[in-house]
Structures are given as structure tokens and as C-alpha cells.
Amino acid sequence: MSLFDWFANRRKETALTPMQPEREIADGLWTKCEACGVMIYSKDLHGHQLVCPECGHHHRVSSSERIQQLIDPHTWRPLDENLVSCDPLQFKDRKPYSDRLREYQEKTGLKDAVQTGLGQLEGLPIALGVMDFAFMGGSMGSVVGEKITRLIERATWEHIPLVIVCASGGARMQEGMLSLVQMAKTAAALERHRSAGLLYIPVLTHPTAGGVTASFAMLGDIIIAEPKATIAFAGRRVIEQTLREKLPDDFQTAEFVQKCGFVDVIVPRTQLKSTLAQLIRLHQPVAGQVSSTLLPKSFPLMAMAEESL
């Protein structure tokens, strides 16, 4: 699958330049912008949703912080928090998969690469899934697939809109084919959500690739992306290797993918919550008007119209 090389990315990002006041970076008081290098007071950076106030660079957000950014205080109800992978293939590459899982669980405090739940966004009830790239590159195995599928089914059951914030290198190879079929499983649940006339908005953040791009990330009624996020099926390096040529710098950026016709709107993170709320409200039936999707097919429209008069 679309081998988005998140290892390479991770290496790049951990290489900090050592010229800054290291002590204060270590204390977490200051953060250096990954893009422009400016030093930002960490509290301010988080207050600005991890978007650099100087250059507008969108730094990576943890799933927990993203939930705080989007969901109204005290309305978040997490779902299926106890699902864990049990290493079905007893997979071992240079290191056993079970060890990797334990390490990432300790490092992130998460059980796997997605958090799901129900909550309110500007008072609007939604089902929300947030992937976490810090957990094995946000890769999708059985747990991610199951949690997302249960979330979609819950949204269909509750008859509410669905938002999934994507961040993933693709399928989790350590679970082999069990990972691949999660693409079909999530798509199946989305088919039912869609047939129920409900709204689904994926938010593509850096990076969204491989099996996630080729399933629920691209199946939105409306697709939102964060500025400059990499959105790809196959990884850039894979394509460069097959073609033996360098690709343009903007290849597979949100802006590029939008020009190709696969992203509706690019929304800066600081406006994401209000944009989602606006879109969801635009899909709500207007008071006094009949929404045909919410009615059973045989419902006598005339009777309803008279009643509302």
C-alpha cells in the first residue's frame, strides 16, 4: 500500500538545530517554529492552536488537544476507549510488534492511533474521530478500523453528522491483510451513514496517505484540508523511485490536491471549528420547511405542509 514513508519524516522532524536556548526548549517554556525558526512562548503557541503566529505554519496537534479545540467544554463523551491490538500475526520485523505497541502506548498515553466520541460543536451534536499521528504514524490496523466503524454506526444510529480528523501514513503493515480490509469495513459503514441522508466531513491534516486516503478520508460529502498538509495515496518517495525524477515541491500538498479537484476547502486551523459549525448548520432543515431526506418515503407531504401552517 502506498508506502508513505513516515519513518523518514519522523527523522527529519526530530533534528532540532542546537543554536537555541536549549534549556528553555527543554523546559517546554519556549517552542521553536518548525518552519520559520522563530521562538514562540509555548503557552501562546497552544493558545493559537499550534499555528505559528509569525508564518502560519501548522504544527502537529495531539488528538486530545484537537478534541479540546473542536468540542465545547464538558460535552465530550469518549467511545470504545478500551480497544487494544492483540498482535494477531505475532509480527516481528526488526522488533516485535507487541513491543512497539507497548512503547507507543507509554509514549502517547493512548491505546491506539485514534480517539472517537460524541460531543457538541458550537452546540451542534456530532460524532467525532481524531487520528493521532504520534501513535505509529497514525497507521490503521484492526483497532483503528473497528473504532472508526463503530463511530460511524453510532452516528447513523443517532442520526447525527460525522467528522473525522485524518492523520495517517496508511495501513498498519504489522497486521497484514487484517489492516487492509479495514478500508472496506469503514467504507461499508459510511455507505449506511450516507444512505440515511447524513452529512460526513473528513478533515485532512498532515499527513493523510495510503489506505486512509483510499477509504474514509476521500469519502466525505465535503472534504476539508489544513493548509499545506500532505495528502497522498502513494508516498512521494515511492513515486520518485519508480519514475526516477524529482517531483515539484508542491506535489501532493493540500493546495495541489484542491486544484486536482479532490478537496473542497482549505481551512486554517484557527477557523476550523467555526467552518465546521457553519457547514453543519447549512445542512440542517430550516424551521417550518420539510426536509424530504428525513421523511419516510411514503410520508404524505401535503399533510406535513398543512400541519406546519
Binding site: L83, D93, M177, K185
Partner: protein
């Protein structure tokens, strides 16, 4: 011909070929000197049969991968032509392209009209280049979808044949929405009311295979493989060494037997001893029998039952634990 045979030889088939050469030698000698050696030949042939059986009954996953990719392995069009009484190939995605890496059309199977489609690898080097080694572009998946829509509209069952290393990874594929094309098929295949039976005939690789792999039944040939990604690519990423592909093939559980245990596939279609390429006619007969039996079973259901069962079949896939 002899030369070509040698180049297509898999490493583990060598003892078998040596034995066959020996049999030929004995034959030549006997006709030269006019001696009756039929007894020895019979014995040697029996030994060759035994050896072939032994070799192919315990292939490693790495060796199975080689068999699945064998250049003489029957392709989608070979099977379609072998199993159907009539067949007309249809072209184009109606969106501006006709991807030769995916073939499809309408045929008649045991009297019944069906839509058949699948990835098509080339039958020789030139054909392979033209067909991009069976790696489809977004247009290929959209062509498949258009044909499946047609089947759904005219109540024809859909038979898909999977044989691809992966979806094509190229600049144009990205520009034209490879991810969207695959995702769209995954969702729509749950919507169709007609029976869908998918068979992995050779190499099933990644989302490129899955994009025509959602059905009421998933069958798999005995020596076919189905993998989340090409083992070479997995090896390059997880072991940081593409040479470790055989280890990756082992670890990823890509064989029909493993996937039956994991609940991914429903049935293994047996291959002749020596694999499908050694006897394509027998392989096609086995395939046809399996397709007809499964088709009869799913056709006995109502369309709503079928869709519900298709949903539940995929809904169950995945292994995890839920700690309370």
C-alpha cells in the same frame, strides 16, 4: 522453446526439471538402440509425479509469491475465455480513459449473463508494458465501477478477478485521484444489490486489489497471494532492506491457507499439482465449479439479505481485544 522454458523456471522446480530431462534421455536412448525401457520410464515418471507433489505441497510463502507471479500463470482474460460460453469485452470509464490494466465485459456462464472484470497482467513483455503489469490507474477503477453499475442495473451477477501487485503509483494517478477512485469503489460495492463474487487468481496487492475485492464471497486460488502491500515494499520499510522480501512474505501471512484462518477469505480453489501454469485447463475447471456453486448459494438469497450479509461479513473482520 527450451530456452524460454529455462528462463521461466523457478529455483525450486529445478530438481523436477532435471528428472524430466533424465526421462527424456532414457527415451532417446531406447529409440536409438531399440530396447524396451517402458518399465524404467514408468518408474521415473511416477517419481517425477511424487516429486512435483512434494515440492508444491510445501511451498514457503516466499516461493508461493513466485508461483503467484509466474509469467505463464493464467490471467484474467485466460480464465474468462475458458469459463464462459460467450464473451464481449467492453471499454472505457466514460470519464476520458480506457485503462488496459483492467479488463471487463459481459459474458455467459452456464447460460447466465454475468459481468466479469479484473486486473490484466500482460502475456508477454510487450503486453505487460502496455498493461502496466496489471497496475491500474484511477481510470481503471472507474471503468470497473461503471461496469458494475451496469451489472446492477440489469441484474447480472458480478465476478471479479484480482491479479495486481498494487495500484499504480505515479504522478498522473495521484492527480486523477487514485485514493478517491479506490475509496469510491469500496463504498459502492456495498450498495450493489446483485451478487458479487471475487477471486484472487494470482497476486493480490494493496488497496489496488481491494478496490474490486468487496463481495458476498472471496475465493482464492491455492497458490495465489493477497497482501496489504508488496512484500518487497514492506521489507524496505520495516526491515529497511528490500532483500528481506521472503521474510516479509512469511510474516505478513499472505497465503490462501493463512487468510482462510484469519477469516479474510471464504474458500480456497484447488490448483492442479504443479500450480495453475502447469495445467491452465484444470485450473479453469476448478474455478468454474467454485464460482457456480458459490453463485447458486448467494443467488438463493434476497437482495436485501445479500447486502446485509455482505456488510456483516466485512464488519466481522479484524482482531483486537476489549479490556474492561
Amino acid at each position: 522453446m527450451a530456452n524460454e522454458r529455462r528462463t521461466l523456471l523457478l529455483e525450486f522446480e529445478k530438481p523436477l526439471v532435471e528428472l524430466e530431462a533424465q526421462i527424456q534421455q532414457v527415451r532417446d536412448k531406447s529409440s536409438e538402440f531399440g530396447v524396451d525401457v517402458s518399465e524404467q520410464i514408468r518408474e521415473l515418471e511416477e517419481r517425477a509425479k511424487q516429486l512435483r507433489y512434494e515440492i508444491f505441497s510445501k511451498l514457503t510463502p516466499g516461493q508461493t509469491l513466485q508461483v503467484a507471479r509466474h509469467p505463464r500463470r493464467p490471467s484474467t482474460l485466460d480464465y474468462i475465455q475458458a469459463i464462459s460460453e460467450e464473451w464481449i469485452e467492453l471499454h472505457g470509464d466514460r470519464r476520458g480513459s480506457d485503462d488496459p490494466a483492467i479488463v471487463g465485459g459481459i459474458g455467459r456462464l452456464n447460460g447466465q449473463p454475468v459481468v466479469m472484470l479484473g486486473q490484466q497482467k500482460g502475456r508477454d513483455t510487450k503486453d505487460n508494458v502496455a498493461r502496466n503489469f496489471g497496475m491500474a490507474s484511477p481510470g481503471g477503477y472507474r471503468k470497473a465501477l461503471r461496469l458494475m453499475e451496469h451489472a446492477n442495473r440489469f441484474q447480472m451477477p458480478i465476478l471479479t478477478f484480482i491479479d495486481t501487485p498494487a495500484a499504480w503509483a505515479g504522478v498522473d494517478a495521484e492527480k486523477f485521484g487514485q485514493g478517491e477512485a479506490i475509496a469510491y469503489n469500496l463504498r459502492e460495492m456495498f450498495r450493489f444489490e446483485v451478487p458479487i463474487i471475487c477471486t484472487v487468481i494470482g497476486e493480490g496487492g494493496s488497496g489496488g486489489a481491494l478496490a474490486i475485492g468487496v463481495g458476498d464471497r472471496l475465493l482464492m486460488f491455492e497458490h495465489a497471494v493477497y497482501s496489504v502491500a508488496p512484500p518487497e515494499a514492506c521489507a524496505a520499510i520495516l526491515w529497511r532492506d528490500a532483500q528481506k522480501a521472503p521474510q516479509a512474505a512469511e510474516a505478513l501471512k499472505i497465503t490462501a491457507r493463512d487468510l482462510l484462518k484469519l477469516g479474510i477469505i471464504d474458500e480456497i480453489v484447488p490448483e492442479p499439482v504443479g500450480a495453475a501454469h502447469s495445467n491452465p485447463v484444470e485450473a479453469a475447471e476448478n474455478l468454474k465449479a467454485a464460482l457456480l456453486r458459490n453463485l447458486a448459494e448467494v443467488q438463493a438469497l434476497s437482495s436485501s439479505e445479500r447486502r446485509e450479509l455482505r456488510y456483516q461479513k466485512f464488519r466481522r473482520m479484524g482482531v483486537f481485544s476489549e479490556v474492561v
